[in-house]
């Protein structure tokens, strides 16, 4: 295969082996390390490239809550279904969201039964649909962390500039920092450090994580999404841990500015504000952890335009997504993992999105680890491998 710029240099196996050896050398004998990758995009990369093969047994990666689809509670899916079922509404949604189960099935099921739900690649596509259907209200199912909130905000600003009166947003945007804090305050789990979310940080920068290092004494390294990015971030975390430091560092400096993206933050600030509280799947209600549409843009707020039932629906009893999202359980430790709950018939959200820890493990990781010799502190050459 010909090499591909900006991709292959971040997947180089020789560099990976060299990093694996350095990481193994930093492990204190007898000590166990638990590092959480906050972002689901990292979880996906870890399993898709078989990154755990490069880690010694004493380092465990714990999968965090940063999967936009995974944290949506069933009640919000039901509310969205309620909106979509209206004759005068066209619902638009990202592809990830289409398979998330509500209590009466997913968007895909509703679509197959005739509900007008359309998949879009960008929220801007919703405006196109709104222009083409002036007699119907186009509601965009807005989900995601600070990564996707700016594109929702920009779409709202564009709609306002155009004077489009039949576009609105069902806002489910959440913010990552309160969720990390909830995990840090949870008694269930002892973590040694965090692989910080790269995409979120392109928007919010690295400063919001400083409390983790300062108040909780845990190192944070904001990481890119290629496998070598993650391996290097683990190395940086191990350097901090072995030196007894706890700081926020930026491995993904080619993309993440320390202070974030002011234009994006302004767009969010113009159109949205924090909710007093919001329910997260498995994590329960977390204060100031989500965004709603500002009063000024009330005409684009589906929750104000239509009556949304707002009924709270508990997760199915057997579903342990909450424990998986908090990193308390490994995906395979969930009682229904892979048997009753599979990617084709998911019970929990973690099995739906490609960024969900359960889906990533089920689709890619369901195999015994083949650790490279370097992960055990032996060089490949000494182990008889070229």
């Amino acid at each position: 295969m010909p090499a591909m710029r900006f991709v292959d240099e971040f997947r180089d196996a020789d560099q990976a082996r060299a990093l694996a050896a350095k990481i193994a050398a930093l492990c204190e004998p007898g000590r166990q390390y638990k590092l959480m990758e906050v972002c689901g995009g990292h979880t996906h990369t870890i399993y898709k490239h078989g990154l755990e093969d490069y880690l010694p047994e004493s380092i465990t990666l714990v999968h965090g809550p940063g999967c936009p689809v995974c944290v949506i509670p069933m009640g919000r899916v039901d509310d969205a279904m309620h909106l979509a079922a209206r004759e005068d509404v066209i619902m638009t949604s990202f592809g990830d969201m289409m398979r998330v189960p509500g209590s009466t099935g997913s968007f895909f099921d509703a679509k197959a039964s005739g509900t007008d739900i359309r998949m879009v690649y960008s929220p801007l596509d919703s405006l196109k649909i709104a222009r083409q259907n002036p007699d119907r209200q186009v509601v965009f199912m807005a989900i995601g962390f600070e990564t996707t909130a700016p594109s929702t905000a920009m779409t709202m600003l564009r709609a306002a500039a155009e004077g489009l009166s039949n576009f609105s947003v069902f806002c489910n945007h959440v913010t990552i920092v309160p969720a990390i804090k909830a995990i840090l305050d949870s008694p269930d789990l002892r973590l040694d450090g965090f692989i910080g979310p790269g995409h979120v940080s392109t928007v919010i920068g690295c400063r919001p994580y400083e409390f983790i290092a300062r108040d909780y004494g845990k190192p944070v390294v904001v990481a890119g999404f290629e496998p070598l990015d993650i391996l290097q971030s683990i190395y940086m975390l191990m350097l901090q841990l072995s030196a007894g430091r706890s700081e926020v560092e930026n491995q993904y400096s080619r993309v993440v500015p320390w202070n974030g993206n002011m234009v994006a933050l302004k767009a969010i600030g113009e159109t949205m504000e924090l909710r007093p509280y919001f329910e997260w799947r498995g994590l329960g209600f977390i204060s100031h952890s989500a965004l709603k549409v500002k009063e000024k843009y009330a005409a684009m707020d589906a929750e104000r335009l239509f009556s949304v039932p707002g009924v709270r629906v508990a997760d199915p009893k057997a579903c342990q997504c909450g424990e998986v999202l908090k990193g308390v359980l490994k995906p395979w430790e969930c009682k229904v993992f892979g048997t009753a709950c599979t990617p084709e018939t998911p019970i929990g959200t973690c099995m739906v999105s490609p960024e969900g820890a359960c889906a990533a493990y089920y689709n890619f990781g369901r195999v015994e680890r083949h650790r490279v010799p370097e992960a055990a502190g032996v060089s490949s050459a000494a182990a008889g491998k070229s």
């Binding site: 010909p2 997947r11 196996a13 898709k48 209590s103 009466t104 099921d109 709950c341 089920y362 890619f364």
Partner: protein, 414 residues
């Protein structure tokens, strides 16, 4: 909001159910099935594990879970949905479930049962192969081809990979009111040219017209018969550890071409569909290596789906090296941007062949002698690894599995 509002998701799930009339939701049913399987497994393993409550090491517990999943996957497939969704047509797990649980269940017979690309029939002592395929690609015209040559090549290839010499085809057209006659002429001209190139004749046909809005321009069904004159025994179940797995060229060209031709993604790249008849290439291969164990053309679901078919039919493992899988840079680039794995992207003129390991060099030489196979490569081997599991050695140097596709990244690809 009070706790009084809280409902159990599992209790209100009825309606998304299986229609079994039992009153519970599919979630309840899945859980019952799970508990039942677990109980019988626990019963079976009890005598061997007198310690009972002893806590196993993590790796062993993980192994147990993997075994449990393996058992769950071997259960009889059942369609849980009440309605057909796009996933049922995507060529992945849902398609397989639908085919096995609905069609195979209804029509079961020894010709259908192997679920190969074509059925083997013996009529008055003459061995023939029969196949059929429908074409609903959107858009109808795309770089490198159109629905017409796709409809000929697809059916020719289904016969060729069964080891047959394709001879005669039927063509059925479902046309939408208002469809331009000029477009229909373009389609039929390319069908004529494709048939000539493949050495087959369209000998019977059918035409239906439906009201505007009840179809999307033009759908085509073709069926084909071919002669099984070679003394070869083909079938993915014949694969065995040590066999080499070969692809005849770069994968994913067709799928990515269609994706870009739809213009929804605002990506441009210099890629054309790989639609081509494979009967000439396959004849070359079988002349050189009559011991070929199995052949498939990698259409919907891509090469990954075929690898899974090999692993599960042969009850063996499959190990593929990502570095060895030929993918054009343009295709990889588009797939990287879209978050799609080229292993799942459709081809319309690529052969996947399983040959005995010691015949791989001869097979590669034979394929490379043909322009359609000039980039043929061994991508992996059948192994005595975990049966039914396809493992990929990633370019990064890690190992992961390659499962059947869930959901549909791209509907109406062919």
């Amino acid at each position: 909001m009070t706790t009084g509002d809280t409902r159990q998701g599992a209790d209100v799930g009825a309606g998304a159910g299986t229609g079994s009339g039992s009153g519970g939701s599919w979630i309840d049913e899945a859980l019952r099935e799970h508990d039942h399987a677990e109980a019988s497994q626990a019963e079976a393993s009890r005598p061997a594990d007198p310690g009972g409550r002893r806590v196993l090491p993590v790796a062993d517990r993980e192994r147990q879970v993997l075994d449990r999943i393996d058992r769950a996957r071997r259960r009889r497939p059942r369609v849980r949905e009440e309605r057909i969704t796009m996933s049922h047509g995507a060529g992945g797990k849902a398609t397989r479930t639908l085919v096995e649980a609905v069609f195979l269940d209804a029509f079961r017979n020894e010709q259908l049962e192997p679920l190969e690309d074509a059925a083997e029939l013996s009529m008055s002592g003459v061995r023939t192969a029969l196949t059929t395929d429908s074409y609903v690609v959107s858009p109808l015209f795309f770089p490198g081809g159109d629905i017409g040559d796709l409809a000929i090549n697809g059916t020719v290839n289904d016969l060729a990979v069964a080891g047959a010499t394709p001879l005669y085809l039927s063509a059925g057209f479902i046309l939408e009111e208002g469809f331009p006659v000029a477009d229909l002429l373009r389609v039929t001209e390319s069908m004529r040219d494709a048939a000539a190139a493949a050495g087959v004749r369209v000998v019977t046909g059918d035409t239906k017209v439906v009201q505007r809005g009840k179809a999307d321009g033009c759908y085509i069904n073709t069926a084909g018969v071919g002669l099984l004159s070679r003394d070869v025994a083909l079938g993915v179940a014949h694969a065995r550890p040590g066999d080499a797995i070969i692809v005849s060229g770069p994968i994913g060209d067709h799928g990515v071409t269609i994706m870009l031709a739809r213009g929804e993604l605002d990506i441009e790249a210099d890629i054309v569909s790989d639609t081509a008849p494979l009967n000439g290439l396959i004849a070359r291969l079988l002349d050189a290596v009559p011991e070929v164990r199995a052949m498939r053309d990698a259409t919907r679901g891509g090469v990954a789906t075929i690898l899974n078919e090999i692993a599960s039919a042969a009850e063996a493992g499959v190990l593929v090296r990502e570095d060895d899988v030929p993918v054009r840079t343009e295709v990889r680039g588009a797939c990287e941007l879209l978050g799609i794995d080229p292993m799942y992207v459709a081809c319309e003129g690529r052969l996947v062949a399983v040959v005995p390991g010691d015949r791989a060099d001869v097979a590669i030489a034979a394929l490379r002698a043909d322009p359609l196979g000039c980039d043929a490569a061994v991508i992996g081997h059948v192994t005595d690894g975990p049966p039914g599991i396809v493992q990929l050695k990633t370019a990064f140097g890690g190992t992961r599995i390659v499962d059947l596709l869930v959901g549909d990244p791209l509907p109406r690809i062919c």
